[in-house]
Structure formats: C-alpha cells, structure tokens
C-alpha cells in the first residue's frame, strides 16, 4: 500500500528509493525530497537526540490530496520516508509504525553485511524483497 519507500542518508542523499512502477516516479522523488525539509524541522524541534523508538517515528509529515507522507529517523540520522495512498483509509498509525520497524530491521541487517559500506546505495536483495512485500501488501 505504500506507493513509495525511500531511505535517505544522513547527508540527505538517497540510499534507496523505490516506487510502484505504474506511477510517475519523478513525482515521488520530488515528494520525498520536499519532505526532507519537514523531517529536518521535526528533528530540530525534538531537541536533544533521545534514544527512544517512539521518537524515531515522526508520524505524518504532511498530507497532500492524493498522498500522505510519513517519516522515521534513526539514531544515525538515516531517514525513512514512506508515501502512502490517501485513498487507503484502513491504514492506522500502528501499522505505519510496524512498517517502519520492519524497514529499520532490514536496514540493520544490511548494515551488518561487512561488504556493505555505509553511504553506498543499498543493493541487498533481501532488502529489496522486504520492500516489495511492503509495497504490494494490502494493495
């Protein structure tokens, strides 16, 4: 149901970005890019960095007429941005949280791979599969 999932590095360049292919991908890229500003705003508003998963989840960043954008930031300032379809009203906050948690876990697994250099694009097949499963989950 997520139409676009992106992993942004600390320096605000994308490590991984994937959208459902039927849409115009450029639109999603632009959305994710603009949402980064909102993410930064929320991060700075949080004050001291607190190691609490609850505050890693940023919640709804901003809604548009068609889509909603959710954000999540890790302790290392790696951001996950997820764009979901607004028409899908069955999505609850908890579900979004759980999706982000799954994303975070998969990201950690990618990090554990010694052949992965932090800052590279994520090319892990396992990560891909997980994201794909998330994107076609409840569609």
């Amino acid at each position: 149901m997520a139409v676009c999932i992106a992993v942004i590095a600390k320096e605000n360049y994308p490590l991984y970005i994937r959208s459902t292919p039927m849409e115009n991908e450029l639109k999603f890229h632009y959305m994710v890019h603009t949402s980064l500003d909102v993410v930064d705003e929320k991060i700075s508003a949080m004050g001291k960095a607190l190691v609490d998963q609850r505050e890693l989840y940023l919640g709804l960043l901003y809604p548009t007429e068609d889509y909603k954008v959710y954000g999540y930031v890790t302790n290392s300032k790696v951001k996950f941005v997820m764009v979901v379809d607004s028409s899908n009203t069955a999505l609850r906050d908890n579900e979004i949280r759980s999706m982000f948690r799954k994303l975070h876990n998969s990201y950690t697994d990618v990090m554990c791979n010694p052949f992965y250099n932090p800052g590279d694009r994520i090319q892990s097949r396992v990560f891909d599969n997980m994201v794909t499963s998330m994107m076609i989950q409840v569609c």
Binding site: E11, N12, V51, Q53, T108, C112, F115, S124, R125
Partner: protein, 649 residues
Amino acid sequence: MEAAAGGGCGSGPSLLLSDGEQQCYSELFARCVGAASGGQGPGPAEAARVASGTASAAAGPVADLFRASQLPAETLHQITELCGAKRVGYFGPTQFYVALKLIAAAQSGLPVRIESIKCELPLPRFMMSKNDGEMRFGNPAELHGSKVQIPYLTTEKNSFKRMDDEEKQQETQSPTMSPLASPPSSPPHYQRVPLSHGYSKLRSSMEQMHPVPYEGRQPLVQPEGTSFGVSGAKPLRHQASLIRSFSVERELQDNNSNYPDEPWRITEEQREYYINQFRSLQPDPSSFISGSVAKNFFTKSKLSIPELSYIWELSDADCDGALTLPEFCAAFHLIVARKNGYPLPEGLPPTLQPEYLQAAFPKPKWECALFDSYSESMLTNQQACDLNGMEKTSVKDMADFPAPTQDVTGDDKQALKSTLTEALPKDVPEDPATPKDSNSLKARPRSRSYSSTSIEEAMKRGEDPPTPPPRPQKTHSRASSLDLNKVFQPSVPATKSGLLPPPPALPPRPCPSQQPEQVSEAELPPQLNRAPSQAAESSPAKKDVSYSQPPSKPIRRKFRPENQSTESQEPSTAVGGPASGATVKPHPTVQKQSSKQKKAIQTAIRKNKEANAVLARLNSELQQQLKEVHQERIALENQLEQLRPVTVL
C-alpha cells in the same frame, strides 16, 4: 610421430580420422606411450622409440585408458581383438587408433565391428581416474562441455550441459554418467597435480578445437544455467586464480553423490577444508569470525563486492555481522560454487542451512587442543588481518578464552561459553560496522546470535567427537615457514637437564597466551649448562609463563623436574604436580647427560639461528605490509578529506 605412424602402418583396417580425432588420438597415444616408457626405459630411449615411429603403448596404461572408457569388459576384449593388438602382440599406433575409434563407436551405441569405424564418430570419452595420465578430454565441436571431473565440486557438476542435442551422445552419456556417481577413491591431494596440469594442457591443446571445453561445471540442477556460455578459458583462469589466491592446496574432491543433483551439498573433504580455513581465521571453532575478518578473507576470492555481499546475506542466517562455523562453511561453499560458475541461488539451499550443516556433520576436531593452529596461524593471522583495535582485542579475548582449554572439561566449556557471551556484548556495541541504532533493535539481532552459539555449544557437547584426523599442514599461514613446533620440539627430548635460560629472542606477539607455549619449549633446548644466575631469571619467567597458562602445567612440569640445577628444581618442585618419576632420574644420569648437553647445545644453537633468520624474514615481510597498509590509510584519509566538503550542505 603420430601422423607418420598413423599413416605408415598398413596393418589393420584403413582409418579415416578427422583432424580432431587425429589430435586427440595422438595425444592419447603419446600419453600412453609416455606413461609406459616412463616406467620402463630411460629418457633417450623413449625419445628414440618415439621418434622412430614404432612406439608402442604398453598394455598397462592402455588397459587403464580402456577401463576409463567405462565400457563393459567383454566389449573391451572385443575391441582389443578387433584392433589387432592381440594379434600383433602390442599396441602400435594403428592398433591404438582403431581401438579408440571402436571405443567411440561402442560408446555411441554402435556394435563393435570393423565397419563401425568407417563412419563419422565422436571422440571416445574417458573418465578421469586417479592416474595422472588419464584423459581429460573435450569433445569435438558438436558437443559442448566435457566430462572431466573437477576435484572441487560434487559429482553432479561434472555432468554435461548439452547445448545442441545430439541424441546419440545423450544416449551414450547416460550410461556413462552413472559411473560418475561412484566417487573415485583417490586421496584428495592427488587431484591437485593433474588439475593444474590438466588445465594448462586443455587450454593449450583444446582451445583451437573446442570452443567451450570447460570441465563439466554445468549444473543439471540449475535449469537457467546461463553461466555455461562462458568460454572455457575464462573459468579455467578463474580457477587458476582461485587456486593462487587462496594459496592453499585444494583438497576437495567430488564425492558424496547421495544426491547427485545438488551442487550445494558440502562433501566431507570440502567441509574439512572449510573448517581448516575457519580455524586459520579463528582458532576456536565454537566462536565466530567477525565481519571484517571474513570480509578480508573472502575478498581474496576475487569475486565482485555485490556478489560477496549477496553471499554474505545468504549465509549469515542470524544477521549478526559474524559467521559461525556452519555459516562460514555455507558462505565458503557458495563462493566456491560461484567461482566455478554456478549462479547464486535465490535463497539459501537447504543443504547449506546452518542447522542442517550442524546436524549433518559432526565436528570432530575441536577437542584436540589445536595448539598448532593457535601457535602458528593465530599469531600471524592476528597480525595479518586488517583489524581495528577493537576487533583485535575482541578476537584476542576470544582467543585467550579458548587458549587454556587444553584439557577440555565440561567446566571449561561452560566458562568458555559464558566468557564468549560476555565478550559478545562488549564487542558488539563497539563494533564500528554496526550503526548506532536503538538498543532494543540491537538486542534483537544480538540475541539471535547468542542463542545460536549456545545451541551450537550444546550440540557440540552432546556429540561424541570422533578421533581427529591427522592435522593437515598449515601451509597457508605465514608462520608455517617458521613452524615453531617443529623447530623447538625435536630438540626437547635431547635436553633432559640444564638450567632454563632466559627465553630466546622471539618477537613480541600480540597474543601473549600463545607465546609461552613455544617459549617454554624454546627454553628447554638451549637450557643446558647456563649460568645459575640465569636460572633465577628463568624461573620467574617460567612462573609467569605457567601463571598465564595454568592448564598447560602438565607439559611444563614434565620438563622442569628434569632440570639439574637445584635452583630451578626448587621452584619446579614447589610448583609440584605429577612430575613424579622424572625427578629421580637426573641423579644417576648426570654424567651421560653432560655429554649429551654439548650436542644438544649445538643443535639448539643451530636451530635458534635458523629460527632467527626465519623470524627476521617474517619481520621484514610484516614491516612491508605495515607500510602498505599505512599508505592505504593515508590515501583513504585523503579521499575522505576531499569528499567531505562536497557532502556537507
């Protein structure tokens, strides 16, 4: 020679050989002749025989060759009769060629008749057996792939991938494929020489005729098998580079054909090899290899980083950034398979799952205290591995813990396990490779590794390990040239008395726990008849040594009571222990030993000099490596500096 002989001899039916056949047959014939005459006459005689064109292949290698064609015995008899060897009494070139042609006919399913050889036939195929002179044949250009066995992989990999279907060939291949299932019983190291030899031969002789003469790596299992299309030279080169890069003798063989369709099954030899490699990186098989160590090791295989990354993903089942022994075996096996051209699977095959690997093969060699591996490979590999400081201490911690377990009791294992698990949380949070995520998230993957190690240890303890096979030579570790055990041990029996001198000038190693073992043994050879003052020095050194390695006391106590000096005997007896009968000996045998001492001193001096030279060489090598690493680091730092201003927005 062959061409002349082939055309010259008139006896027997007229042969029409294609170019490919001509070449193959002549090569076979030369080999048989060479094998025959190599055992018989001197070189010049053989050359003369060959040059004169009347060379005859002896019955022995020819019989072997025929047997390798996997035809039934009576067929071979028929062939031998037909070709005229029986009549003539020997295998001349013509007879040999006729016989080969008849073999090809028989393998194609045609009756063994003289008329059969008139038609166009493919080349005969022979199984490569343990004899060095046996064939590694490529088929002519109609067929792709050949049937030579590869020592690396299991039997299924030696089957063909037939690009264009020739029914005849398929028929004949099916009966000959079943013999593939029977593993050759030759010892593993046998294959090494013919392997490399075969590669060069193949490359040189076959490439002009066979576009793809790659030895049967084509899997039957993987239907996509796209990697087959690679030209023969490339995988050969890969394998040669693999041999070089790992710089270990390949002791793998294609055995274990219970499931001939599974290329992912690890054979016993392969498993032993993997375990040895594991031990070279991490002496304690119950512990695991950290990510960076494994990365450096696997990078040597010259696979691309994405592929290695994917292999890691597949094999690191619990995603903890470290490889346990079954995970390591799985990863290694995947790498070997990939090097041999197998496409990587989508998921970890069931035979490579860690649980399966643990259950399938018992782990026999852990109980043998692995002093050799500790002493040699541990020291050098610690220096060799590109570890950061934390990794070094972590590995050292883990090495220190297993070090004392010479007498492996249950208590020791408990202590080991608990110390390992304690070391883990210390190690893991400071591992720079893992991101600094929340503790809860980190706890989840870490707990998985904990449980896996405990399960493994429980399983280990439950199994009764069989007696360990003789340990293979650790030729790949750099200290093998030093081979401290061999240097110091033989001189030990010779030295039954004397004082313990100060330890010889061994370079300071990062792991002090390993050092004292050689130090103790090193002390003994040059120990004789030194000044008593040195005994005083040595006994505190000895005490330190004994302190740092309490379980090794039984070894040292055996030697200590044999010291003649009272000063050194006092501390030794003060240490006590089951030294018993040895203490009584020195008194009556004083005179004899004094004469032995001189010889022992001399031998010890010589050995020390050798050891010195080796160590000096080792030192210089390491210095050079250190320089290189420094340079690399400087280059990387420069890069980082250059990149930094770009990314900061």
